[in-house]
Symmetry: C2
Subunit: 129 residues, 2 copies
DNA sequence: TTGTTATTGATATTCATTATCAATAACACT
DNA sequence: AGTGTTATTGATAATGAATATCAATAACAA
């Protein structure tokens, strides 16, 4: 009984916008982009759609050091990021070793439904000089 | 020239309170505890002290899934956490393998001043059943 | 003791995210 | 196609963590 989900063009729009955006985006940024493309979608709806996408596993999120929640399309494969704290560039990195290590450690302690956060921050080559 | 740091009882108080608190605490929680112990310290000062402790490497922080920044005493050695999303218990884990991997990946991409976030979330043994 | 100035604390402000609620539209069923 | 139910939307108010402001205070070098 029950909470049957409905399909709306708004949800599709957010999904598309998220797929278009390479790398991480904030809800506010997505909302801005959508409006710039002529959409009349509301900010609250963008937040709701993103929350749903995360719970469906179609997107993942992380907290920026400015306190914003950033979202990213996750329909492809699982990977992690190398993020420049100065210019914001993000590089996707494979992390099979870290993956394996994380799930091993979790299992050793009897944890289930394990997820993890593995992100590396620093200054990229260009910003280092 | 300048910016000479000064020692104050407020900074000590925050440091002590943080050491007392086992596990992660928010700035607001620390402030509350301090006031309950009769301190007249201000909330803004607690935030400032915590920020300084983090930059000195005496504390580390992570974002709760409710969007709060949580702090933890880190005067011992570097380590990471296994966190139960249900009951909040945190288990310290050694992560030498992950450490090495993280700095190796970062260097390969020319990154400097590298820090990382490695946290594992899930349901602990007790909360899993 | 004194002068300089980093620090404090009360509070206003910022800003991301959530709650509210009337209006709208998805969709199951005729 | 028409209709009723109700999930969803969107404008906006509300929440709440974190930061900025600024006069008053206190650390500390001389």
């Amino acid at each position: 009984m029950s909470t049957a989900k409905r399909n709306t063009w708004q949800k599709d729009a957010v999904m598309h916008a998220l797929t278009e955006a390479k790398g991480f985006v904030s809800a506010q940024q997505l909302h801005l982009v959508l409006k710039q493309h002529g959409s009349t979608i509301g900010l609250a709806t963008v937040y709701r759609a993103l929350t749903e996408l995360v719970s469906l596993g179609k997107a993942d999120s992380l907290q920026s050091n400015e306190g914003e929640t950033l979202y990213r399309d996750c329909s492809t494969h699982h990977h992690h990021h190398l993020i420049c704290e100065n210019c914001g560039v993000t590089i996707e990195i494979e992390a099979e070793a870290a993956e394996a290590w994380a799930s091993k450690v979790a299992k050793e302690h009897g944890f289930t439904q394990v997820t993890h956060t593995i992100d590396i921050f620093g200054l990229c080559k260009a910003c280092s000089k």
